[in-house]
Assembly symmetry: C2
């Protein structure tokens, strides 16, 4: 007989447990016990029926699964959602996004990120990876929302509205990394924008900080065909080859987008253990292209899923992103068997966590990991009947089906009520930012 854990804080019970852990993939009528923010035990609900616990959450027959991991976003761009669409990339950036971003400051980024956290929690995301300006504000917002986050100040060779010259950017990154080192929720990455905005010395120094601090290095790579053509023209190297040359390829590197890769690029990414963040909806909306995800998966590359910023999506709902990811590669290859539902669910959970260097922490319901989990309410017309939970999660569920969210053992949404955020306050703050943007 197993001795019950003495001090169980929370039991989530009465659901189909989908762990995303191959050791024990599914329990039909199960429960998850949480103590000190960690998953301590998973088993049949009956086993936990008489077990004492400070708090119980009834999943009411829904699906209990790991919280989703958004591997690439610019959270505070909630402030600019829908400001301009359906435009050529240059027009969109130069005439709309860049002028709007001139209105940003640390305060605006804080409120925009809180709004993003509200949207992400409501749609089942428990962990996000951010790249933007004023990232100390992003860290504070994630912490206040009680969300897990990997944050990193965007670095490039021209002066930043936040830190000024690049030397200060490195200092800002090192200081953030030190400040958040032992935080249970927030961790820091080094985030040079892209091979086209970062020269060799910037990338070398960024890779050095990543290596010394043992933290992720996160870069936009090969997002558009124009970027690759320019890189070939200027350096005779693809963006991936350029990153290899400056020593930036490693298993700590998360390469975002990777839309335009050749076979050699894929081979390089695999050899160095580089992880990839796939952002299909943003790549579609900006007409960037379709990333070779089936080829990357075949090569053995770890691919996570991201929404990108919601000015180019325009939402942060990973359920929609999973649906799109599963379908896009089928039509692109004219093969309905590629990138199946199970693979996509892994991209949005365990593989996403691995891509962020957090596979010991989150991404699956595994005893010992931090308790980041969600309950999907399946008592809905569009999820009735249910032959296969994995199919429903990828092809039929929407973010709005998430009823309860627990992060680091703490309930942050219960029965669709947000517990850590004051929506009224956030809306008022972001509406004031939007008025400033509109006046511009």
């Amino acid at each position: 007989m197993t001795k019950p854990h003495p001090s169980v804080e929370l039991i989530v019970t009465n659901g189909t447990i989908l762990t995303m852990d191959p050791a024990q993939p599914r329990i039909e009528d199960g429960a998850v016990a949480i103590s000190e923010g960690r998953i301590v035990e998973i088993g049949p609900a009956a086993v936990f029926a008489g077990r004492p616990a400070a708090r119980r959450i009834d999943a009411r027959g829904g699906i209990v699964m790991p919280g989703l991991v958004n591997c690439h976003t610019h959270a505070a761009m909630t402030c600019f959602r829908g400001i301009a669409d359906d435009l050529p990339l240059e027009t969109w950036l130069n005439e709309h996004i860049f002028p709007a971003e001139a209105e940003l400051d640390a305060d605006a980024v804080y409120w925009g990120t809180l709004l993003a956290c509200a949207e992400m929690i409501r749609s089942g995301t428990t962990c996000f990876c951010d790249m933007y300006l004023f990232e100390e504000s992003v860290a504070r917002a994630a912490k206040d929302a009680c969300m897990r986050a990997v944050v990193g100040e965007v670095l490039y060779d021209f002066p930043s509205p936040n830190y000024g010259p690049i030397e200060e950017g490195f200092a800002y990154t090192r200081q953030m990394a030190a400040r958040w080192k032992d935080d249970p929720l927030v961790s820091v990455a080094v985030e040079p924008h892209s091979p086209y905005l970062c020269g060799p010395s910037l990338l070398e120094e960024a890779a050095r900080i990543s290596s010394e601090a043992g933290i992720p290095l996160i870069v936009h790579v090969a997002e558009t065909r124009a970027e690759v053509e320019r890189s070939l023209g200027e350096r005779g190297l693809t963006p991936v080859q350029y990153l290899a040359e400056v020593g930036a390829l490693s298993e700590r590197l998360l390469a975002c987008h990777c839309v335009w890769l050749d076979e050699r690029d894929i081979e390089l990414l695999y050899q160095f253990g580089v992880k990839v963040a796939h952002n299909p909806e943003s790549n579609m909306k900006l007409a960037s292209g379709i990333a070779p995800v089936p080829e990357m998966l075949d090569a053995g590359i770890c691919v996570g899923l991201g929404t990108d910023g919601c000015a180019s999506n325009n939402d942060l709902d990973l359920f929609g992103e999973m649906d799109t990811a599963a379908k896009l590669h089928k039509v692109n290859t004219l093969d309905p068997t590629v990138v199946d539902a199970e693979q996509v669910l892994k991209m949005a959970t365990c593989n996403g966590a691995r891509a962020l260097g957090l596979s010991a922490v989150t991404g699956s319901l595994t005893p010992g990991k931090r308790a980041d989990l969600i309950v999907v309410d399946t008592d809905r017309p569009h999820l009735t009947p249910m032959y296969n939970p994995v199919s429903h999660l990828v092809y039929a569920a929407r973010g709005s089906d998430v009823s309860t969210v627990v992060i680091d053992g703490k309930p942050v949404m219960e029965d669709r009520r947000l517990l850590t955020l004051d929506l009224e306050e956030i809306r008022n703050a972001v509406s004031a930012i939007a008025r400033r943007v509109r006046r511009r």
Copy 2:
């Protein structure tokens, strides 16, 4: 001064009115007055403030817009959602869908369609066009749900589990057309399955019935490359050319899918005033291909939007379908300006209604048309702030943001509560069907 309409039944007020009628596209703080199921007046909310009405609905600052039109579905396939995915088309059909469909009868189709109606109403669809077996059950379900529907029994050259030989199929169609002729909600179409399952005499007779009764002719056309190759091999004609040869092309024809068209096909469709139902998510999931929608729109063809059956989607949410339609063609052409949000919104509303021959009835908020409208609740994190309602509807909103639905002047959902359907009863009936299917 305008004389107020004497007997206003319902006023929907306090919303941004998006009419989809070029005569008066938008009213910022407006109201819609409804009498005897028709829109009688649209104007500023202040004008209607003191106006007597039997009932008022407060849109609470949300978007009031025409109900969405789903131009192509097989509603009762809700019974098979998620039964099999990620398979080659032949395996999926022969080993999963066809055996499951052997469990269908008139009763199962009735309950499966009611479940679909619940999902469609909840996600803002007020009108759907159906092709399946036992369509009299679909008509009854739509009527009971109080949804607008165009229904048609699927016709092909082999015996049907419903009507038997094709002669009986024509009789069944004629009888249905006569029975529902004056119904305010349900109308009937002639629906030969496809050029590959229907010989010339079937198609000629179907076109004759359509012409004599003045009702739509609805056919699956050029859905897969294999279909086109077989048609060229067997007849030396594309599916569209074959339909032209048998006299099936006319402005009453709704051609569903139209994925594999050549320039001459597009020209023929335009010349004959044929309408097209575009089903991007089904085409993606089944790896059928990407329809040349920008080319069809450029040619002047009326294109509506459909979800197809939810076994190949796997939902009936037109908000998701709009999002996908807008993005898919951008990435396919590498041009972010094609198929913009406004065009997609037209596809899902006024152009969808036109495609079904219902442009005098529904598809826009126009005085004189039947009152099919929805309220989209914009007081949500993912719709805050709002720079542009059209962008939000296509790129950020989800079906779950619809709070209120009025069809033919009658509220069928208010504050997310379904008013015409008993979900418990529907779920029990469909669960029993699913148990039969599972046993097989």
